[in-house]
Amino acid sequence: MNSYKPTDIAGKLASGFLRNPLTVVLGIFLLSIGYLALSIMPREENPQMVVSGSTVIVALPGASAAEIQKAIVKPLERKLKEVKGVENISSMAMDNVGIVNAAFFIGEAKEDSNLKIYDKIMQNSDMFPKGAMNPIIKPLDIDIDIPVVSVAFYSKNEKMSKTELYDRVKEIQHHINGLKNVAVTELKGGNKHQFNVEVDLDKLSGYNISMGQIVQGVQSLSYSVPAVKNRTKENEIIMLGVKNAIESADDIGNIIIAQYMGSPIYLKQIAKVTSSYDIQNFKSATISKKDESGNFSQLQNQVTLSVSKLQGTNAVIIADAVKSELESYKEFLNKNEIGYVITRNDGQRADEAVNELVYHLLLSIVIIAILLIVVLGWRESLIVTFTVPAILAITLFVAYLTGQTINRITLFAFLLSLGLLVDAAIIVIENIHRHYHSKESANKSVDDIMIEATDEIGPPTNIATLAIIMTMVPMAFVGQMMGQFMKPIPANVPVALIASLFVAYIFTPYLAVRILKKPDFHSEEKH
């Protein structure tokens, strides 16, 4: 049946699939894996960047900045310099504490880098001077450090004590932390419970008491012990518990600090003892929000709960889970007169960015389809338009397999490749169109025309596509943050282009045979 012998891979693919019943199955399969990838791939706004680094904090109480620099920072810097892959070491020497930060080259694997620093410090833990505290090593982790959701809780009741809000939010925090794929939850703002003993200096000197005596007095009564176990004569166990002497602020106030002229001095005589919040905590968080009438509320105390996700998980799903978890606490919160505002939702932001771009992508496809209808006719246009989702589906699936996420840059890579990937199909369909309408092919079979037209255009199209792929390859080697940031472009555009070749060679002739009408050459020629 096929008399034309294809020479190029293009013609071979075309003839192989032209009458194959599996072609349609392949088409449906491609579209469905693409859709699957689109729906299960994690979404985020910006691509994941591999940034590694660690901060080492060493405290040496009582040392001045210059002493810290000599005794702690400089030896530490020298040791960290030995670690391979470190790009920059920056350090700060302050009174009492030295901080050294080692930043790795962009792209250095996170786990390895963290381990290297940890190893180096542990192997050389003898280098720290006497009196230095144990070094604290804090690795940088973008996923865990940067929360995807933050919620500000505030009290609707002005009389609510400062600690109550914190306590209630802390209960919610525990449940949010239990949600799937949530890495770290953190609270900012709020105050903890505390018994405050505020001593009046004048009375202190008036009674001739030292601060040390107060410390001794309080410590002697705030000692908790486990219950004592004993047996009766019948060998029954009897527990004997010692009640904690301090149960309330009054108990503390009634502690006897000293004797003065024979009479006891109670703590409450020289100090104000209250059960309230941590007054020494200078940190606070407040929020003001706009009401319906457009006025801002007074700044009021709030507690912010921030939630970060595990690496490679979907911010959209986590954000939604947090949201619905909060919904389920609505009654609890209402009862306690606590309101909340979601102040950051990266999941939603990512979802919006992705959906907007997907919409742009569809819009572009429609625009190109209209252009093709005008120039080539609607049948040809239909064929080319079908190839676009097929190509994108393959690219998406490959991106999914290689562990990428859907983010702004991936979608921009798709938009960029959209203009390029219809090319192969357009060139093939245009050549089929030309052959169909030329007089020489009037007597050839339809299949032959298809295969010949595809085959003819094969070598230059292959080489031209290869040329575009070539331009993308060096981009993959661009380093720095920008190279990392742009990585989805060199990663996805070549895949899309290769996919576009195969789809053009397989599906364009297949659809053309079924959709295009062969012109009648007995009437007048069109061109």
Binding site: T55, V73, R78, N88, S91, A93, M94, D145, A152, E186, K188, Q194, N196, V199, D200, L201, D202, L204, S205, S210, G212, Q213, I214, V215, V218, Q219, N244, I246, I279, T286, I287, K290, G294, T304, T343, R344, L363, S364, I367, I368, V375, L416, G419, E430, R434, T461, I463, A464, A467, M470, T471, V473, P474, M475, F477, G479, Q480, M481, M482, F485
Partner: protein, 562 residues
């Protein structure tokens, strides 16, 4: 239409006058467009433009040693301005600490903030679809008024505006790292650089990363007196700390609240405040504090110590084992390249009174103090450095792409001339890229920068336009080989036939890119593709046929031996 174009090409390529005119015009256009970037600054370069965000953060930093109450006053001042904004949905103030971490804060060290002199204000705006004003315009608008009225509340207060970056985050747009051996010299030089930055147009949020030196007091213990009265230093320290800072001296376990409840001891707020900031006031307070020795004897602290004023120890910073300080500045909606050059010129001009200045590398400076002969270095970092690196690397990627394509073509055609024609044709799309940016700049309200994404678009364009030329040459070859057409006729026929798919694919690219052009980050890519493709079409339909005609095609297509 088809015939007309074919005839035009046919005649055009055979007429030497027209040929040279077109080639000459192309060359001039190429030179002019390159000139648009470098000397004339008609097209400005920047790594990435600003992005319209739904949120931004205001960092307020007071002088080292300021109290939380003072910080609070500054943030309240800022809050008053924010409350006037109609596009603000809510805002949060984090006093004494950083806000929940974001990308920018990670680089700027927001998570290490833990002192009374810092605060961060998170401003959440209404969703960008419901808002006319992009966040970067809003920041630009409110920045001067907030900075003017709120920074003057206390000396050395800085208020900076931090927007989520469009691309990778950096410490600041411009960072001048001042390296040197002595802290005082670095301090003096960095303050002078700061002044230069403040006077430079387009630079805002200027900040020096160093602690101010402020007055402190030190308690000196008289060792003899202390041992005579049977009191040790630890006791003294503890009491001082307890009295003024306070300490958690015991805890109580609780099943009601979530943590252990500490018992915290301190002097009451009213009685511990010094009446003023001088030695006498401190002495007056300390005289009421007494220490008890093992025998139960009470000794007032003031008996054992003398109080002397001294300066605080500022933080010592170093990078890669060299002592340094950062002077940082943000750019106000302009590219960081040009203010940097301006600031550098100002440094070269004004600093010669005290320093001998040498240029090192591309922009960096070496300053030698004329009196002390101390050597300082000024190294530029920040977004500027990243921009330079990125442009250099993308440029290298571009050249690598050209070489790869050339080699590919040589392999395919086995002819240097044909490969050269293709390369030349694709290189001409740069005219379209640069002119396109200039045209866009005329139309948009803010500056339309040539960005890193423009370069990426340009790299992709080489591939696209070489595809056009390639299809054209291939068809010409097959016409000459199979149909035995003469050269001029074959070129003209091939050009006219290939014009349709070339136009079609170009139209597809242009249409697909129009949506890109609207985006802040990828606008450059879109514009580069749109205008570059137009130039590429012109190049492959006009320039390439002319060049082809000038080449000995029979030899290059190996038709002679056939």
């Amino acid at each position: 239409m088809f015939k007309k174009f074919q005839n035009a090409v046919f005649e055009g390529i055979q007429n030497p006058k027209k040929r040279n005119l077109i080639l000459g015009a192309t060359f001039i256009a190429f030179v002019l467009s390159v000139l648009m970037i470098a000397p004339s600054k008609m097209v400005l370069a920047k790594m990435l433009p600003g992005k319209n965000n739904d949120t931004f953060t205001i960092y307020t930093t007071l002088a080292e040693g300021s109290s939380i109450e003072q910080t609070n006053r500054v943030t309240e001042c800022v809050a008053e301005f924010i409350k006037k904004e109609k596009n603000v949905e809510n805002f949060e103030i984090f006093l004494g600490m950083g806000a929940p971490l974001d990308f920018a804060g990670l680089i700027k060290g927001s998570h290490f903030k833990n002192s009374e002199n810092v605060a961060e204000i998170v401003v959440n705006l209404t969703k960008k679809h419901h808002r006319d004003e992009p966040s970067y315009f809003m920041v630009q608008r409110i920045r001067p008024s907030i900075q003017e009225s709120c920074t003057k509340l206390y000396d050395n207060t800085t208020i900076t505006f931090v927007e989520p970056p469009a691309g990778p985050p950096v410490l600041a747009a411009i960072v001048a790292e001042i390296y040197g051996k002595d802290a005082d010299g670095i301090r003096e030089l960095s303050n002078r650089v700061k002044e230069v930055f403040e006077k430079t147009d387009g630079l805002v949020d200027v900040e020096v990363m160093q602690d101010e030196i402020y007055d402190t007091f030190e308690v000196e213990v008289d060792g003899t007196k202390a041992s005579l009265s049977g009191i040790n230093l630890k006791q003294l320290n503890d009491v001082l700390y307890l009295a003024f800072e306070g300490m958690q001296i015991a805890v109580k376990n609780s099943d009601v609240v979530n943590d252990q409840i500490p018992i915290y001891l301190s002097l009451s707020l009213e009685s511990k405040k010094f009446s003023s900031k001088d030695i006498d006031a401190i002495k007056a307070k300390l005289s009421s504090l007494k220490l008890m020795n093992s025998a139960g004897m009470m000794t007032p602290i003031t008996e054992l110590v003398t109080i002397v004023p001294k300066n605080s120890n500022p933080m010592i910073m170093s990078k890669n084992l060299h002592q340094m300080t950062n002077v940082m500045a943000e750019t106000d909606m302009v590219s960081q390249v040009y203010p940097l050059i301006e600031a550098r010129d100002a440094i070269l001009k004004n600093f010669s009174d005290k320093y001998e200045i040498e240029k090192i590398g591309l922009f960096n400076l070496k300053l030698i103090d004329k009196n002390s002969k101390n050597v300082y270095e000024l190294i530029w970092d920040g977004e500027m450095e990243v921009t330079l690196d990125t442009f250099v690397e993308l440029g290298a990627a571009f050249i690598a792409a050209l070489v790869l394509i050339f080699l590919l073509m040589v392999v395919y055609y086995k002819s240097y001339t044909l490969s050269g024609i293709i390369l030349l044709g694709s290189f001409l799309s740069i005219i379209g890229v640069i002119v396109g940016h200039y045209i866009m700049d005329l139309f948009v309200s803010d500056t339309f920068f040539l960005t890193a994404t423009s370069l990426i678009g340009f790299i992709a364009l080489i591939g696209i336009s070489s595809r056009n030329s390639l299809l054209l040459i291939d068809f010409t070859a097959s016409l000459m080989r199979d149909n035995k057409m003469p050269k001029a006729e074959a070129i003209a026929y091939a050009t006219a036939t290939r014009a349709k798919p070339i136009f079609l694919t170009a139209a597809a690219i242009i249409l697909a890119s129009t949506l890109l052009a609207g985006d802040a980050v990828f606008g450059g890519l879109g514009v580069a593709l749109i205008f570059g493709t137009i130039a590429a079409v012109v190049a492959s339909l006009i320039i390439v046929p002319i060049l082809l005609y000038k080449a000995d095609l029979n030899r290059h297509f190996n038709l002679d031996d056939a």
